[in-house]
């Protein structure tokens, strides 16, 4: 690995070195707040480095890309890690998180996500995915006094190991069929004019099952609600956005390599996964009375939408996926941010009953939460609408009218479960709420997400153009 290649990996290296140094500093000086703040600064630096210092080479070690596409996601996940750390400042103090370890792990997760999104080889995918999943096992269960957290961590671990096994096996099969790990090549060699050979099909099947576990597609979604519920809210935010988004970003690099016939072989599977995810996710979300569990099922539905766009492929489809991922990340971070900022002594108000009547005690954050819900539901003028519009547009354009209709149906169902928290916040009888008034950092994160949701909803032009620019190929 040459010096240039190292320089090309600068943002990831910043994250990794930041992570290690925080861990070291934490060992001698375990004051939580400065450590977390160092983490925030590191994440911000990595984001700036990724955004403004273009890499001198296109690819590192035939494993990771350093083009605009990779850099875009590096910025996104670094910012996500930064937001997560900012949200953890007060929350972590209340729950007595070990500052050094926590910060270090979050930064490491961001590095892993960024590597995964920029992987150009099957090995890169494996490496990236495992490095942040491993970290998330710990992060989910980092509060040793929280039983639900431990349960969630264990559940994620069990499911994660199966997924890892499937992924490894899938990659091995594809390697066996093609003799290369390098992405466009492996995918191109895999298919023939007639479509995928059995071994390739098997490999892809395993790969898709692993992806299904990680991004929680039905029928691989069963871990999602429990993990969402048990994990600390800032970690859930990172888990629900970065962990899923980075893998989807990697899929965008995988899929175009396939020949048309091979892709046609996968289409029915993807189609089915998308439909079932939208349908089952929506129906399950309707019944939830726990805010985080509702968001868990809603994320299943969102992954169904994203899969729809992924299936349509092409510039429109992939562009829609990336735009949607950004919008979804922002709205989800906002929603979990509000829940974090309501938390008092580490107790999150998760049940709808805990939120009733809060709209008038905490009007600003409640309004923000309502807008995040509307964005997730895809109601204009929030960003969610433009995202959903892009997806439906891509689907109709590519001739998947059935999926688009399904998406519309799911959106319709989703209105009900997204309206429920809003109803509870504003239309329930008031009660004397003694929740936290929110620290400066938390309010800052919420304000940032809110501004992004509204700005991207009303003036999405710049981001849409950027997305078109960074798309590979």
């Amino acid at each position: 690995m040459s010096g240039l290649e190292l320089y090309a990996l600068l943002p990831q290296l910043i994250l990794l070195f930041g992570s290690l140094s925080v861990l070291m500093i934490g060992a001698w000086n375990p004051t939580r707040r400065p450590l977390l703040l160092i983490g925030v600064v590191t994440a911000a630096t990595a984001a700036i480095a990724a955004a403004f210092w273009p890499a001198p080479v296109a690819e590192v070690a035939r494993m990771f890309g350093c083009g605009p596409y990779a850099r875009f996601f590096t910025v996104l996940w670094s910012l996500a890690a930064g937001l997560c750390l900012l949200l953890s400042l007060r929350y972590g103090a209340n729950r007595k998180f070990p500052g050094g370890e926590y910060t270090s792990l979050v930064l490491f997760a961001a590095a892993g996500m960024s590597l995964l999104s920029s992987a150009t080889s099957l090995l890169g995918i494996f490496l990236g995915l495992e490095s942040f999943t491993l970290v998330l096992y710990i992060l989910i269960a980092i509060d040793k006094n929280c039983l639900l957290g431990a349960e969630a961590g264990l559940k994620y671990l069990a499911m994660g190991i199966i997924a890892t096994g499937l992924l490894g096996f899938g990659i091995a099969l594809i390697y066996a069929a093609t003799g290369t790990f390098h992405l466009p090549e492996a995918m191109a060699k895999l298919g023939t004019e007639q479509g995928l050979p059995p071994i390739g099909l098997l490999g892809w099947g395993m790969l898709l099952a692993a992806v299904g576990f990680k991004v929680s597609l039905v029928p691989f979604h069963l871990w999602t609600p429990d993990v969402y519920q048990g994990a600390p809210a800032p970690v859930t935010a990172l888990l629900s956005t970065g962990a899923k988004g980075s893998l989807l970003a990697a899929l965008i690099l995988l899929l175009p390599g396939l020949s048309t016939a091979s892709f046609a072989d996968l289409t029915p599977v993807l189609w089915m996964l998308a439909v079932v995810s939208m349908l089952v996710g929506s129906l399950c979300a309707l019944r939830q009375t726990n805010f985080k569990r509702m968001l868990a099922y809603s994320s299943v539905v969102h992954m169904g939408y994203v899969l729809t766009a992924l299936l349509t492929g092409g510039n429109h489809g992939f562009g829609a996926v990336i735009f949607y991922l950004v919008v979804y990340t922002v709205a989800n971070f906002g929603a979990f941010g509000v829940i974090t900022s309501f938390a008092l002594q580490g107790q999150e108000p998760q049940e709808y009953a805990d939120l009733s009547g809060l709209g008038y005690h905490h009007p600003r954050r409640s309004t923000a939460l309502a807008l995040f819900m509307l964005s997730l539901a895809g109601v204009p003028p929030t960003a969610g609408f433009i995202g959903k519009f892009g997806i439906f547009y891509a689907a109709v354009d590519a001739g998947y009218q059935g999926l688009a209709l399904m998406g519309v149906l799911a959106s319709l169902l989703s209105i009900y479960y997204y309206l429920r928290p809003i109803i509870v916040l504003f239309m329930a009888d008031e009660r004397s709420a003694c929740l936290h008034h929110g620290s400066v950092e938390e309010n800052g994160v919420i304000a940032f997400c809110l501004a992004a949701v509204l700005f991207l909803g009303l003036y999405p032009g710049p981001l849409l153009d950027l997305v078109t620019l960074i798309l590979p190929g």
């Binding site: 109601v379 204009p380 439906f392 547009y393 319709l412 309206l419 109803i423 153009d465």
Partner: protein, 498 residues
């Protein structure tokens, strides 16, 4: 269509002003009085601008204003606002009714600032709907109206308010999501044919749709017919109207229902003339069914607010009849009736809320004798009820007579079938008047008559009712051009239902 050389973007300002008011109300939410005054001033300015545009008159090609700025390049969406005679009338109606609503809600105590903030947001959305000619921009405003109304019903409503609010939201959204799909399909078809991917209404009118046309038309119409509403899709309306606070009922009946009719005229008919032409008999049938069915249900109501809600459905049946007759006079009448109905029904809701405040009930069985206890209120009640009934010389009559005149010209049979509906209207209105104003049971012994504040709200409504009834010519004038264009394009289209 050329852009006029006005350097002040009045139409954008029209939308931006209430929006700015929304923010100001949010910022100064601890000063309710300031919010009230600010709302009143913004609504008055909107009304003023609308009147100004009316006085200034249209350009040669019939537009009162036109603005066009790039918005989302990637999808070809543009910030296009255009005002023709129909939208002018609707904008003026919006401005006027919002002023009245502000005055009526002046003493709103519960979360005052938020209330006025939502009223202004609603106004902004409504104005956007009436002005936008870019499909996605229209959709944006169309959904933007939903949120404030949802909160107005859900937070300040009565009874099963949350149920009513959610029902309203879901019904409307179902229609609009299908409309969104139809919009996307239309956009793609146009793009594939011409290579120009755009959401501009004028461009999309030229699209050749082939077998897709009925489906797309259906998608658009579903959204508009839910909002209008026609009979099988109307069930959200009685709940929403009844549970909503006065301001909400007024805005719902006066303005939100009109957006449905307006959407049909601005988008559904011009975009799909062939199918629209073929669907006219179906629409007329729906209109007739709606008229009679809603009138019948209204006749059975004991809650007078609910009664008026059903009367709205019945009146909007007449509006739909006028729109579907394919006759210029009837169409003008229908648009005029939209304005008249907005004012008279709005006024009815206002009077009923004043009545409710005094007697504590809206039940016909427990009301009565109002003429003796509160003569001024009773007089206003009678006045607006008679206007709603279609008494000559008052607002609704002028619209209805034009509709029927036009329908008789075009299709005497339809007209003959529709006319007895007026008797039904008379029946339920008179039953309501009789049960409320007369009778031997004075429902309150010593309730005060109208206060000055209430009079300030009702007098403008009464004046407009009289004006629209006696001299509707002034309001009809801007309609001539657009209506002629619409009817010509509709009747020039050939074809039938597939």
């Amino acid at each position: 269509m050329t852009s006029t050389a006005t350097y002040i973007p009045w139409l954008t300002l029209l939308i931006a002003l209430p929006l700015a008011g929304t923010l100001i109300c949010l910022i100064f939410r601890r000063l309710p009085t300031a919010c009230r005054w600010w709302t009143l001033i913004s609504t008055l300015v909107v009304l003023g601008v609308a009147i100004g545009l009316f006085l200034q008159g249209p350009t040669i090609d019939g537009w009162y204003g036109f603005e066009d700025v790039p918005w989302i390049d990637r999808f070809g969406c543009r910030w296009t606002l255009a005002m023709d005679g129909i939208s002018l009338l609707m904008v003026a109606l919006t401005g006027f009714l919002q002023v009245v609503v502000t005055i009526i809600s002046w003493r709103q105590k519960k979360h005052t600032a938020l209330f006025f903030c939502l009223l202004l947001l609603l106004e902004s959305g409504l104005l956007g709907v009436f002005l936008a000619t870019d499909l996605i921009l229209f959709y944006l405003f169309w959904e933007m109206m939903l949120i404030p109304m949802f909160f107005l019903i859900g937070v300040w409503g009565h009874g099963q308010k949350v149920y009513a609010a959610v029902k309203f939201f879901i019904f409307t959204l179902t229609g609009s999501l299908l409309m969104l799909l139809a919009m996307i399909a239309l956009y793609l078809l146009h793009g594939q044919q011409t290579g120009d991917y755009t959401f501009a209404l004028e461009a999309l009118k030229q699209t050749r749709l082939g077998p897709w046309e009925p489906w797309l038309y259906g998608g658009f119409m579903l959204a508009f017919l839910v909002k209008l509403p026609v009979v099988p899709l109307h069930t959200w309306l009685p709940d929403a109207h009844t549970m909503a606070p006065t301001a909400g009922s007024l805005d719902l009946a006066g303005l939100l229902l009109k957006t449905g009719a307006f959407g049909i005229l601005r988008f559904a008919f011009p975009l799909f003339p062939t199918t629209a032409r073929a669907s006219l008999p179906l629409l007329i049938a729906m209109a007739l069914i709606g008229m009679y069915y809603a009138a019948w249900i209204a006749w059975r109501q004991n809650d007078i607010k609910r009664l008026i809600a059903y009367s709205s459905v019945s009146h909007l049946g007449v509006v739909l009849l006028g729109m579907a007759s394919g006759n210029a006079i009837a169409l003008q009448g229908a648009i005029l009736l939209m304005a008249c109905h907005g004012i008279t029904t709005g006024a009815m809701f206002a009077v009923i809320s004043m009545l409710h405040r005094r007697t504590g009930t809206r039940d016909l069985d427990r009301l009565g004798g109002l003429w003796q206890t509160t003569p001024v209120l009773a007089a206003f009640f009678l006045f607006f009820a008679l206007a709603s009934l279609g008494l000559p010389g008052l607002a609704n009559f002028s619209g209805e007579i034009l509709v029927f005149a036009g329908v008789f010209q075009q299709q005497p049979l339809w007209g003959a079938l529709a006319l007895p509906g007026m008797v039904f209207t008379a029946a339920y209105i008179l039953r309501m008047v009789q049960g409320t104003l007369w009778g031997s049971r004075p429902s309150c012994r010593a309730c005060p008559d109208l206060s000055w504040g209430e009079l300030t709200a009702l007098i403008p409504l009464a004046v407009m009712t009289l004006w629209l009834g006696v001299a509707p010519g002034m309001f009809l004038e801007p309609l001539h051009g657009p209506v002629k264009l619409l009817v010509d394009s509709l009747m020039a289209a050939q074809g039938g239902l597939p």
